[in-house]
Amino acid sequence: VNCEQIRETLDAYAVGAAAPTEAKAVEEHVAGCIGCWDELKKSQRAAGLLALSSSIQPPPPRLGERLMTAAGVGERRRLSLSGLFSGRSAGWPAAAGAFGLAGAAALVFAVFLQAQVDDLQQDRDLLRSEVTNQGSIIGVATASDVRTVSMVSTASDTQPAATGASEPWGEYLWSRSHGKGVIFCHNLPDLPEGEVYQAWYATETEPVAAGTFTPEDGGCHHLMQPIVADISATGVGLSREKSGGSQRPTGRWLIFAPFD
């Protein structure tokens, strides 16, 4: 299927009118074609305007309360917030009422349109997220509560740890106040085309993926993708995987650090 054929279907896909076979063809094509992907995003944003053409009506106030209760169940509330939260939950309907129906509608428009405008400047956004990542990394590394563990090669675990220049090694920096972790690594072997390094949190059960990267000159500074709160990590490791990453590590840890 070529780009021209796909572009004829993009609009139908964006409004949900494509037949299943057409939809599949679009998805497969845009996964590998940045030009058509970009066109699809434009169509999808235009389709989003249709939602705004409906009259905006606020949901009943009880729904907000129900939702917050359902979300809060089973959550360990942080001490600093628990007082505020229980103080506020009774005030929800009143706050929603004071906010007003028209206010709710106006706000939805304002934020939606702002997002659309931002979306038009996609490149700027990508750049911004890169800057945010770099900022997060610096934030963690310079945090007053930063903790560091050494990640060592597991290839030679029957021998005394070699400190030779060619041995891969790394450090995992973590800050509770930032809620983020970063891997700095060194001497990673070059990868063939089609392979990446993937970071993982080890857990009591299966490792949890935390993002992929390609090293530059064997070094890396990788901001770990956040881990969901109800899993507690027992360590952090790197493995070699096919591009795009894997569901589970396919080989052994290249470097690894257990958490105490």
Partner: protein
């Protein structure tokens, strides 16, 4: 300022993506802020599609709880949160009507019907209506420029959940005609997303 209003102001100042990131750390206040921002958009879209206030309410709860439990289902690198949320909402609502008996499937409202059912809420407050209407006028104007037969097929697809083939059968029009109408109509809608909207940026 009380602690509560300071906290509220803090969360209001965060953008959608920042709020989403906080969900990974189980921040209930961030979740509340997201709901305050988008609860009415999600609810209105569901209501327009399923035409039943109780079902729409349940779906809003389901959609938001899913976001709370699986924030990773939104991938920031694939676009803005609100675009994703709109599409998740529409798809979820359409799944709902598809799974129900087809006799519950409805026509999308005619513009006259919409005119009648719309702005009751917005008419209540002229000052806010003014702010709202400037922006909304652009969208409605763009939609109005789309010829009725093109708009009809687009709305049948988006709000009615029909495929091109189903629309063609429903309207007794050749499939090719339906496809062309969708493309032409969407071209005009895309036009609404260019320069004038940039002028709206503060």
């Amino acid at each position: 300022m009380t602690d509560v209003s300071q906290q509220e102001a803090f969360y209001k100042a965060l953008d959608d993506e920042e709020l989403m990131e906080r969900l990974f750390h189980r921040d209930l206040e961030a979740f509340r802020a997201l709901y305050e921002r988008y609860g009415s958009l999600v609810y209105s879209t569901c209501l327009r599609i399923v035409r039943d206030a109780q079902i729409a309410e349940d779906m809003v709860q389901e959609i938001f709880l899913r976001i709370w439990r699986k924030p990773e289902s939104y991938l920031p690198q694939r676009g803005r949160f609100v675009t994703w949320l709109t599409s998740v909402t529409r798809n979820r609502a359409v799944d709902e009507i598809r799974s129900r008996n087809r006799r519950f499937r409805h026509e999308t409202a005619s513009p006259e019907e919409q005119e009648r059912e719309v702005p009751a809420a917005e008419r209540m407050d002229p000052a806010l209506t003014a702010e709202l209407s400037d922006q909304r006028r652009l969208i409605l104007a763009a939609l109005e420029e789309i010829p009725r037969e093109q708009r009809e097929v687009i709305e049948l697809a988006y709000f009615g959940g029909f495929t091109q083939q189903e629309i063609s059968e429903r309207l007794s029009q050749p499939l090719g005609t339906v496809k062309t109408r969708i493309r032409l109509g969407m071209q005009k809608l895309r036009g609404a997303l260019t320069p004038e909207f940039k002028l709206e940026e503060r």
